[in-house]
């Protein structure tokens, strides 16, 4: 029933860290940030797939690789069966109209010197497909679609004349301009006031149904992820720790890291008490990730094997993957 839209295959990204002048004379080795390491998963058509993790997990870098905003160190991303890294300029431009992004910060991602009409119309201009009047019509339609009304008035306003939620709607309208099949939503509501988050989430859901969109959502907010997602991958230090359907992963997590993450979130209900989070310490540096399982230094269940050999991401239950020798 559902076809694969994207295949992410052993995707790896290492960043070189430049050492200072003196230290580069003294010690020749350069340091490498293992941002993303051998990450593989598929995104099916019409689903909302979420990448979840803390700072340094590699989730944002993975999203940038999928959109080819940065080049991988190794590995592949296939969109509708074709590798995006092997495309020529023209083909890449056509691909870009199929894959778009909504950014986290609705202030920083909009040019303050352009009107909403210019911002949303920019994709049309870049693709060079339409006359000015057709562009204006298309932009007005998009403004209506995202609930920015009256559209003609909003067309001429500048970002600072809008509220945070409205600016995010502009960002969404811009992403929808070329009618993409796939949208990356990078922390779409994290910068918004709590009272208006549900407006934007609701808009995203209805646009998804209306326009048959596939979403890749990046978020650290597990409650939003549970509400919006079909499937979820939990990332830690550049690797996937667990991957399953949203309901299953939150109702019965298998990986100790996922369990710790979930138990750390305070529930907005005083009758539901928070449990103790058994994790010690902080996330290790991705420059020198721990040997074996990267999580072993903080894991309450770690045994010898965990520091010696890295566990593979394997099925521990039907369609439920975890990278842990003791997943249960």
């Amino acid at each position: 029933m559902s076809e694969m839209l994207l295949q992410i295959d052993s995707l790896t990204k290492h960043f070189l860290v430049e050492k200072g002048f003196l230290s580069s004379i003294v010690a020749k080795e350069s340091r490498v940030v293992h941002a993303v390491d051998e990450v593989s998963f598929n995104i099916m058509k019409d689903e909302t797939f979420s990448l979840v993790g803390e700072t340094g997990s590699g989730k944002t870098t993975t999203a940038k690789l999928i959109l080819r905003l940065i080049e991988p160190t190794s590995g592949d991303v296939r969109f509708e069966g074709r590798s995006i890294f092997k495309l020529e300029k023209d083909e890449l431009r056509r691909l870009r109209s199929n894959m778009q992004i909504v950014f986290q910060d609705p202030f920083a991602s909009l040019n303050p010197r352009e009107t909403a009409g210019e911002i949303i119309g920019a994709p049309f201009k870049i693709q060079g497909l339409m006359s000015k009047s057709d562009r204006r019509k298309a932009v007005l339609e998009l403004l209506n679609m995202v609930g920015l009304e009256p559209a003609p008035m909003c067309f001429d306003k500048y970002p600072h004349e809008f509220s945070g939620g409205q600016r995010q709607r502009i960002g969404i309208a811009r992403a929808l301009a070329l009618r993409p099949k796939f949208i990356v939503a990078d922390e779409p509501v994290a910068s918004l006031d709590v009272s208006i988050r549900s407006q934007i989430l609701d808009l995203m859901q209805s646009l998804k149904r209306q326009l048959k969109l596939t979403y890749l959502m990046i978020s650290h907010d597990l409650s939003v992820v549970r509400y919006m997602s079909d499937r979820v991958a939990v990332m830690y230090l550049g690797k996937i720790a667990e991957l399953a359907e949203a309901r299953k992963i939150f109702a019965s997590p298998k990986h100790p890291y996922t369990k710790a993450l979930i138990s750390a979130v305070p529930i907005p209900d005083p009758k539901v008490k928070m449990q103790d989070v058994l994790l010690k310490g902080e996330i290790p540096s991705p420059i020198n990730p721990p040997t074996g399982c990267r999580f072993h230094t903080r894991c309450p269940m770690a045994k010898d094997v965990c520091s010696e050999r890295e566990p593979a991401l394997a099925e521990v239950d039907r369609e439920h993957l975890a990278a842990c020798y003791f997943a249960q």
């Binding site: 803390e54 700072t55 340094g56 509220s163 945070g164 939620g165 409205q166 006031d193 709590v194 009272s195 208006i196 988050r197 549900s198 407006q199 989430l201 609701d202 650290h220 597990l222 409650s223 939003v224 549970r226 509400y227 309901r247 939150f250 710790a260 993450l261 979930i262 138990s263 750390a264 979130v265 305070p266 529930i267 907005p268 209900d269 005083p270 009758k271 539901v272 008490k273 928070m274 989070v277 994790l279 902080e282 996330i283």
Partner: protein, 224 residues
Amino acid sequence: MTRNPKARVPIPIPIKRARIPVAVAKSQIMPPIWGSIGEITPPIGAFLNIRNMAATRSTKASQLLALKALYEADAMKKAFIPDEPTTSVDVIIQAQILKMLMELKRKLDTSVLLITHNLGIVAQLCDKIAVMYAGNIVEYAGTAALFDVPKHPYTETLLGSIPRLDLDTKSLKIMRGSVPDLINPPSGCTFHPRCPYAKETCSKQTPGLEAIEKGRLVKCLLYN
């Protein structure tokens, strides 16, 4: 509980040495603005402005160290005011900070005035809650009562608009409109443009913050 950094509501707080009267528990409630408190320098010593710390990995650790230092310096004598202590912090560190806050409160037997937009933290940590909107306290109640039966429409909609991690949420309540303009605030009740229960009088008359039962205050014409 909206947070507008541009809001400047004057705060008449009499400041005595090492003592900040915590207004929430008193019968005469003043709309506080926490930003001004930040300008007050020690010897009060009880204010820790965690909000302005940069959100880098190493400063998360320094947030915890700062808390620890305050504790050791015995600085939190009467009241402790953490301002958004967990915004832009990862979930695990957030839990560690919360745990430390709870321990500090217990050990020092101090009053804590927690400022946050995170309803999860509020539900877990707080005994009493004052919900603020556009510079006013619109509801005040004990935690269990507030979450069980929110009285003010803003509180009710807000609580219903947040997805749950422990449950399957079918749909979320939508709070319509935008965060209010504090330069030209709405007439009458400042919440009326977004209120699902608003009537005509709501745009003309400003409700008072009134007791509807013991220990519960609401600022809404539905209850006046």
